[in-house]
């Protein structure tokens, strides 16, 4: 089976993101960029499947700027077999990304698509679900456990109520959550090997995506600063204030 893993280049998880001076976006100068952490977990899961013999090939794909090659190289150094970058310097919104991934699926014909549950930049949490709908295949989102029995995947999903299990027939789209695995450290010799693995760069336009209606993005601003409240003098006053606020059930 071939596994297709989608990865996105995002501002690193450890960077404190700040709104730029004119509010048109966030500061990107000098900011470290990385593989979206959930996508890295997806890459790791695909590699483990390959190592277990559940998959034959791991292909990583990204839609993004030319510099996203760095993130694809990292995925190759982790162990992916080959990489494709569909170069798009402008933002690609989730529905357009899902349509693009569908076009890639038509060409690659994978048995499984693994994605992160969401990208930590726009926090949309949409692409996997949209792709599954367009592909008319099953989806399993928020996945923290994954097993395969023949052509069915049993996914454990981290839902609000607890851990839900569903069976999905393959091919399917799985979006992964934090606790699925702990991605491996990239090893130095593997970074060298990754430089020789195939990385195709193709123009996004080549996919022939029909662009859907786009959300218009306006002002970016920092979240409102939390204001201090009042100091109370006693436990009685505290309990009364809590009751007045209606927060004690």
């Amino acid at each position: 089976m071939k596994i297709l893993v989608g990865i996105k280049r995002v501002i690193d998880y450890n960077v404190r993101v700040q709104v730029n001076r004119d509010g048109t976006g966030v500061v990107k100068d000098g900011v470290k960029m990385s593989i979206n952490p959930f996508d890295e977990i997806a890459v790791e899961e695909a590699l483990r499947m390959k190592e277990r013999g559940d998959a034959a090939e791991v292909v990583v794909v990204s839609i993004g700027p030319e510099a996203a090659q760095q993130q694809l190289r990292t995925a190759l150094a982790m162990g992916a077999d080959r990489a494709i970058l569909y170069q798009a310097e402008e933002e690609v919104q989730p529905l357009a990304a899902a349509r693009a991934l569908l076009a890639i699926i038509k060409a690659e014909d994978p048995g499984l698509v693994l994605l992160g549950k969401q990208a930590i930049d726009d926090d949309a949490n949409q692409v996997g679900q949209m792709l599954a709908a367009l592909w008319d295949r099953p989806q399993a989102t928020f996945v923290s456990g994954l097993e395969f029995i023949d052509s069915v995947a049993r996914a454990t999903r981290e839902v609000d109520a607890g851990l839900e299990q569903i069976d999905v027939e393959l091919p399917a789209v799985i979006t992964v959550d934090l606790r699925l695995n702990e991605p491996r450290f990239v090893k130095m010799p593997d970074i060298m090997k990754a430089k020789r693995k195939p990385l195709d760069i193709r123009p996004f336009a080549e996919l022939g995506v029909e662009m859907p209606p786009q959300l218009e993005t306006g002002l970016h601003e920092p979240p409102p600063k939390r204001q201090g409240g009042i100091k109370v003098e006693s436990v009685e006053a505290l309990v009364k204030a809590l009751h007045d606020k209606g927060v004690l059930s």
Binding site: R16, P138, D167, P212, P213, L215, V239
Partner: protein, 320 residues
Amino acid sequence: MSRVLLIADHDGRTLNTGIARSVACARQLGDVHVAVFHTADTDAPCAAAAKLDGVSRVLSVSNPANNAPLAAVLAPQIAELANGHEDGYDYVLAPSTTFGKDVLPRVAALMGVPQVSDLMEVIDARTFKRPIYAGNVITTVKVPEGIPVLATVRIASFPSSGQGATANIVSATVDAELPTHTRYVGLEESGGGDRPDLQSARCVVAGGRGVGSKKNFDIIFRLADKLGAAVGASRAAVDAGYVPNDMQVGQTGKIIAPDLYFAIGISGAIQHMTGIKDAGCIVAINKDGDAPIFEAADLGLVGDLFQLLPELEKALDAGE
């Protein structure tokens, strides 16, 4: 008046509390219909939805296939309802629970329209605020004219609607082809007899370095149990070995948004505050009246926690 379709999140018995909050958002946009997808014997949530202030109609969609919250099964029905039912809806909303996040993008793709995730504030009929970068940036997005607005509602941003309404419950039939490639196996509910999960608890009691020792942390657990709360800790308390790592709240620990947060013996370093910036009400108890926690707490009490906490437990007992 615009027509709003809100998709109910329920477990076959009760309505998710996020629905009452989503209604508060939905009613700012138009006339609210709540759609409940269920089987013949799991229609109790319809009645609960009909009571919510601001709901004018409940659409009860009964189908044996609706025995579990499967996005692949529900999305075609929702899209059909949104497109076709009585001229269609201007808005399709779902709470940004794991249910809503799972199903609504699938609906959006079927309808060929974008979705707004985590709508936190309505600016005008098509313009909304939403958080990005884990809530560190708020952005404004506008949905273009001529298409329905699909959005998940960030429930922490809206108050709950009251329960004084008596909306009509109307059964609706939806003609959609439903897939069988996805099957529900089961749910292992979290929590149960133990304390609630830190990440999803409505109330959290957290202790810091000021608690002083692993043994002293019992006083935090006792208060938490009294309140039915989860227990958290600051990094300093974790580093000092009072409690395990998975209880850490803050930048490098868990980011949480309970309705009520007790910070006890926690100084309130920025790194900690980052983890609770979306909490509803923050209560600080600390002996240092100059601690930064008081600059962000809604209610502060300066004093010795070992004296104040037992008093607080007693006062809570008295109030019961």
